[in-house]
């Protein structure tokens, strides 16, 4: 177990290093100057050079990279060009928003996916099963921005039930704690559903498959003949045995979501990591780009690793060595 974790951490840090190097050099070597984003072209050359010197952009690029790595290892990710604040602060400000969105979405997704899969299996080969399967197949392939657009058009514009963008209503600072919570919850429903609906389709399909496989096992017949109730069968035998594929999908998904649901956050103007990343990329804010890359890379790697470990716990046959 320990050896497995060590090896995973080793390969993960290799991966992270490779990704950071790639993004760093791709950002710095491609045409486009961050200084031009902040200064008008009328500003004299020496002022621009001064700013470039302040940003540390006048050094050799390899030296710059070395500098960044040295600082990053001591926990200093530099100062964002656009926000004029430490990168860590900027990221820490939006990370909770992304985490709230990601966790809500995952919970929705799991509940929807597992529920419909269980129903479909209970009524296997009936019309309900066919309908659920086809719906899940269609839903799981839908692009998130299309789902979000439909939800917006229906629940926000046509019925006027839910707010269409942002995280707080105007004047939310003066709300009481309970009202604030309710307000955020109302803003949370649409983006979370946008992420959860396509994902739940995939989870439903996988879970249905593995449930069907489990039900064909001999121990299920035995447990049934012993006289266990359907509920007990489901909770103690079917669920634990059918869960592993779902866990590995979830691991991938949580990592990606925590590094920012880029499209959904843009659509709903949700102030999270995804939108920050896109902003940083378009403003060529090099320190912030690197910070976002690092944070999202860490999330993806850690989530995958935890999923693998969980997989081993749920299914003892796949003990990692």
């Amino acid at each position: 177990m320990i050896a497995f974790i060590q090896r995973r951490i080793f390969s993960a840090s290799l991966l992270l290093g490779g990704m950071l190097t790639l993004i760093f050099f791709a950002a710095h070597l491609t045409p486009g100057d961050p200084v031009n984003v902040f200064l008008s072209p009328n500003v004299p050359q020496n002022v621009a050079n001064e700013l470039r010197h302040q940003f540390g952009l006048d050094q050799n690029i390899v030296l710059q990279f070395g500098q960044w790595v040295r600082n990053a290892l001591t926990g200093n990710l530099g100062i964002s060009f656009a926000y004029r604040r430490p990168v860590l602060e900027v990221i820490a400000a939006v990370l909770p928003n992304t985490a709230v969105l990601a966790i809500t979405a995952i919970v929705f997704e799991l509940v929807l996916g597992l529920f419909f899969a269980a129903v479909a299996v209970r009524r296997h080969n009936s019309i309900v099963d066919t309908m659920i399967r086809n719906a899940a197949l269609v839903v799981s392939t839908q692009p998130t921005f299309w789902v979000g657009l439909l939800l917006l058009a229906m629940f926000s514009f046509a019925f006027g039930l839910l707010p269409s963008s942002q995280m707080h209503s105007l004047g939310a600072e003066s709300f009481s704690f309970g009202a604030n919570l309710f307000d955020v919850g109302k803003h949370l429903v649409l983006p979370a559903c946008t992420i959860a609906i396509p994902g739940s389709g995939a989870i439903c399909l996988y879970f249905r498959q593995s449930l069907l496989k489990v039900r064909r096992e001999e121990y299920m017949t035995y447990a049934h003949s012993v006289g266990l109730s359907n509920w007990a069968l489901f909770v103690y035998y079917e669920l634990p045995n059918a869960l592993p594929p779902v866990i590995s999908i979830l691991g991938l998904e949580i990592g990606t979501l925590l590094s920012g649901a880029i499209v959904t956050e843009t659509l709903f103007a949700w102030p999270g990591m995804g939108r920050l990343t896109v902003l940083a990329l378009s403003a060529r804010d090099y320190p912030l780009i690197m910070g976002c890359t690092l944070v999202s890379g860490v999330f993806v790697v850690v989530a995958n690793m935890i999923a693998d470990l969980l997989y081993g716990t749920v299914d003892p046959r796949v003990r990692m060595t």
Partner: protein, 438 residues
Amino acid sequence: MNKRFLSVWRVIGGQRPASVVLAVVFILFSLWRWKVILMSCVSLLLVLLVFVGGGTNISQCLRPGLFEYWLAAFVWMLMAFLFGKRYAKILLGSGNNMSGGSGCSEPANEEGARFGHPAVLVLLSYVFVAMMAPLLAPHDPTAQGDLRTTRLLKPLESRVTIGKTPLIEKDGPEMTSAFVPRMLEHVNGYLLQLKNPYAHHDAPMPGALNEHDRRVEVFFLGTDDLGRDVFSRVIYGLRISVLIGTLSVACSILIASLVGFVAGIQGGWIDHVLMRITDLFIAVPSLFLVISLVAFFGNSTTLLVLVLGTTGWMGVARIIRGEVAILNEREFISASRLLGRSSLQIVRDHMIPNLMPAIVVAMVLQLGNVILAEAALSFLGLGIQPPTPSLGNMIGESLPYLRSAWWVGIFPGIILSALVVQANLVGERLQNTGRNRA
């Protein structure tokens, strides 16, 4: 006659389904736009004349802007040629099962196969529409109308214009500067001149504004905020999606088979290194990588294709490598190796035919993914740039008008989601069929 011809369904699944459908489509199409077909035939003859005569404009046919379309057409033709015979039966022939004619029943019908059969036809028709975009689109997808009269018209709303009636409609943005449409315009002008000897003068035509030149334009799916026809834009957007999808799938299949075959056949440390690289690519969140690459390197069509192609090959490479490793142990491979055939010959004669089903399935599934990725990029404003319509950027641009004009964003969305669903259904069907054969 017999049972097989009882319903349209079974006709499609009958003896020569594809040709029947194509013939019907072609006849309907030619009835609809006979003028266009006539004119393009004339211009094609003119092109051939110029070609034979050695004019100066031949290079126009091979402009870099058009090159991508030629390439996409070539890839589709190649695929049709390579896989047409083998898969026509699997894809279209299951109608025979419905009529109970064939002896072996297909247990594949249980899982997702029910949709597969019409899905293939629908996917092919999408490709057909995409390839024929300049002929099918009733309006220029980028031409802005008079904003006072054409802004945000509802679907099926019409507008009356008074003025010179063009003999045929203008072609799309990519084609207008190309050689063939210019020839077309030339012919057009010539015919107009025959009809009206004053047409080539700058002076206004006598009687141009009379009742005779009154013309009603119908916007089938309405217009967007700049008075552009949504229907034409959807058709052109579909074209971009299919184009980018096809090319980048071809690109990623190329990389995947290179990596997969080399890793599977060589084995040893080469295999190890290549597979670790594949793992690295899998672990990187692909949308993040694609977005940063596109943000840094710009977003021409070629770069989009390359970026999407180089971020989508990992799954296929793994599949190919696994299958090759299994095949390597089989007797017939060892036999041909003992006969002294080189690795390349073995790959060509034994590996590729055996791997084709797996590769085709992966390609079709990848097509759906790539189309989605391109649409997401364009939606964020990082993919295809605004004057050129793409399904993604149409949806993105429609957001400010969603409250007042739903049709601007909803129709491209419907087409996009249908396209992706079809690609996935076809992939699934092929997969199930392959599994049953094996």
